[in-house]
Symmetry: C2
Subunit: 495 residues, 2 copies
């Protein structure tokens, strides 16, 4: 059963309702499959109009949607207003990209006379939509990574119908947004299968959806455990399908001594804020803070601890997420090599969590794989290092991560020293995004964005789930050899 729960009180409200049955999921997928050819053949302008109409409809329902989201998630009105803005911004952004031809790259090479290998027929490279996409909503972004979030926007932009699975942490909001989406699809004169919606809290609903034969790809934002399990199922189908799983990461942040010499206090404030933002419920939340073993480092760590201590994260999204956070920090509390710096367990017991910070030496951190696992929430480890080489070893031990942040790398045109270069090199090798200022929370929606990263941060490191390149996940390249004039004239739009 699905049930709205007030995130702040943990109390259910309203009536529960049943999750989608296997037959309902099959019907949704069948409708999406039926719509796939016609939707693939729509023009970029038609799909841009759909995306703009979806953005307008979400915007028009703002006064109704934001309070609903707030009650189910506890994320607070300002954050949710901003997240709704982001959602409409990216729907419209994909529309802009479509209108600029982004969905239909088209490389047309004329015949070359003569014998092979130089001589060849006319070759035309295009990309075609994969077909129906299963889209798994995230708990922590009820708008921007949910029913009409980036995955849905990018799949629709690509010309693929979507079957969205709602996240059970905000089931009432999901239904409302889905109803809006269906209404817009109908108003645009598109088949209803272009947008379908299923819901459920049990594992079976997601498994059934991924296993549905007509599903051509799946996009997922969520836990490592859930994502890896679904990726395996996607790979073991009779016809395996791409599984784009964004699984989160621990997002190392390296504070080079040079950075702390200048801005220690403001950096500590900014970092404490990033750790507590949204109660730490971001896949980009900084979980590992790398600080030199020197006086500047000592002062920064003390300052960070004091500033973190003063912050009060809000209620977490669900009791389950809160439980996992409490278990994660309990394990850290009991870890023999960690020195706890911030921990207010008693205050934490009263409804909202408290931030947690502990310190560990680089060698101990590197050697213990358990410390490389994400604790989802307002918690971080300070790792003290003695050299650039140790930072490189630490980054390589962490492996794949969505982001790595480096503070204090010289910003000008002159090359930094070898040690710093090595840190930059290692960061580019393990992360999907490397930041040279600011904090990793907050992911800009733009063409140059890459919100991805090597395993285990994602199951598909070549792809991004934020920004306009996200569309490429759903468009497969295809070569046409000696294509007829009418087909070339379509400039990559499928027939």
């Amino acid at each position: 059963m699905l049930q709205s729960i007030d995130a702040r009180t943990g109390q259910p409200y309203g009536e529960p309702w049943p999750e989608s049955t296997p037959a309902q999921i099959d019907a949704a997928v069948a409708q999406a499959a039926t719509a796939a050819d016609a939707f693939a053949a729509t023009s970029a302008a038609e799909r841009a109009a759909l995306l703009r109409a979806l953005a307008d409809a979400v915007q028009a329902a703002r006064a109704e949607l934001v309070p609903l989201a707030d009650r189910e998630t506890g994320l607070g009105l300002p954050r949710l207003e901003g997240e709704l803005d982001r959602t409409t911004f990216q729907l419209r952004g994909f529309a802009d990209v479509l209108e600029a031809g982004g969905a239909h790259p088209f490389l047309d090479e004329d015949t070359v006379a003569g014998a092979p290998p130089a001589g060849r027929p006319r070759m035309t490279r295009v990309r075609i939509p994969l077909g129906p996409v299963a889209m798994f909503s995230a708990s922590n972004f009820p708008f921007a990574f949910s029913v009409l979030g980036g995955d849905t926007a990018s799949a629709l932009a690509a010309g693929c119908p979507v079957v969205v699975k709602a996240h059970p942490a905000h089931p009432g909001l999901s239904r409302q947004v889905a109803a809006i989406a269906s209404k817009v699809v109908a108003a645009q004169g598109l088949p209803e299968g272009v947008f379908r919606f299923v819901e459920g809290g049990s594992i079976e609903v997601g498994v059934h959806l991924v296993q549905a034969p007509a599903i051509a790809a799946a996009a997922f934002t969520g836990s490592f455990k859930g994502g890896v399990a679904l990726a395996k199922i996607a790979g073991e189908r009779p016809r395996p399908i791409p599984f784009y799983g964004e699984l989160g990461s621990i997002n190392p942040l390296v504070a080079l001594p040079a950075a702390l010499e200048k801005d220690s206090a403001s950096l500590a404030q900014s970092l404490a804020g990033s750790i507590c933002l949204g109660s730490g419920q971001f896949c980009t939340s900084p979980g590992v803070i790398v600080v030199w073993k020197d006086a500047g480092g000592d002062a920064f760590v003390a300052d960070l601890a004091a500033k973190l201590q003063a912050l009060a994260p809000h209620a977490m999204l669900t009791g389950g997420i809160r439980g996992a956070f409490d278990r994660g920090i309990a394990a850290w509390r009991g870890h023999g090599q960690l020195t706890v710096l911030v921990d207010d367990a008693e205050a934490s017991a009263a409804g909202t969590p408290r931030p947690f910070l502990a310190e560990v030496q680089a060698g101990d951190f590197i050697a213990d794989h358990r410390l490389h696992e994400e604790v989802f929430g307002s918690a971080a480890l300070v790792v003290r290092v003695g050299s650039a080489d140790e930072v490189v070893a630490l980054l390589k031990a962490i492996g794949g991560t969505l982001t790595a942040t480096l503070w204090g790398v010289p910003a000008g045109v002159e090359l930094p020293d070898e040690g710093t270069l090595g840190i930059v090199r290692a960061a580019t090798q393990v992360a999907g995004r490397v930041l040279f200022s600011g904090v990793p929370t907050g992911v800009a929606v733009t063409a140059a964005q890459h919100h991805g990263g090597p395993y285990p941060s994602t199951t598909a490191p070549f792809t991004t789930s934020v920004g306009y390149a996200a569309m490429e996940r759903f468009l497969r390249p295809l070569a046409l050899q000696d294509a007829p004039g009418w087909l070339v004239a379509r400039e990559g739009v499928p027939v």
Copy 2:
């Protein structure tokens, strides 16, 4: 043990030698890993120079290499001369692409002032090499898909060291080409780990290579069974890696009645030649010929059978490949719903195989999944259809294929009828390359090429193993946020 075998006589010659030990494979991978950072940081011009020097060295050794290849593969001198040309052509082609900036796409977006979602930091999108690539050579292209073939060329172009596993069907040639490659790498002043070579006929060698922790990706051209097994191993590593498997396919060719009205005789000749080319040992060999049940179709099939009967394929690559071919056509001979059209089993017994052709009705073909499996060699099935809808159903039943060829689709600017449109649409959905004239054997090396296709023709349908987009398999996107001036100045070249 490895052993050169004369493909035409089946007799071994020269001394056998041991395959690479696990320790030797580990050492090769370790050298590649050691070389990875320096090689990634080379300029495009340096890597272009390497590729051109490799092409020159292969060209210079032509008189020695081609006869060696001919004895081990039986493919014949003209074909092997052409294949060597193709190999040097694509090495130089990747050099051209490097010099034009193709390895370092670089999208630099300036800061946008203001609050998010519109406001954002400077974002720079680049691509970085993955690291050491395991490259599995193919049996059927001793030059172009082997030691210095397309996979190696594209990985080197991307800035990834390669560890090549030779194919045991041409072990002597592979050693010679590997020795040339190592000499060129040294002469270019690059670390020897940029090109490493392992060899072996046992499954263990390949498994050990794919499981080596420092290997970052694998490229494979070969059988469905072998490729799927290695893909599974790649996905089950503690750190899963991309596995680019090109597994072959049955390459349906649809002869619309309009095509046969005009050119029946020359099309039959061309198709018979394609079926027998290289003894049918191409992943693009046409295995399913779709012909209407009408008088034109009857005449074409009779003509095709007569022309095929007159052709004599040369010896196959190995006894194992020949055995699999014989078993495949034996199963077809015993299949109750096939009518054998060409089958000269007695002549076949004498050293070289004979072509095989049988006919089946569309309904029977669609219903029997065993008939959708590739028989590697000069063998094809003619499937008789009564309607465009039946062709669509047939294409969908086959599923993923490297190529689909459609003869008789109107070439002009006017749209064809709905039935033909449906066939074109279905072909684009199941194939990686759709041809509108000619035969599928022969794959042009060019930017617009896509030699890939949905599962089961490949394990990675978004990628190509022929043409310059092959390089993208080894370059992972990365976003730099507020990157320093010195890093932006590198324009995407790794540090």
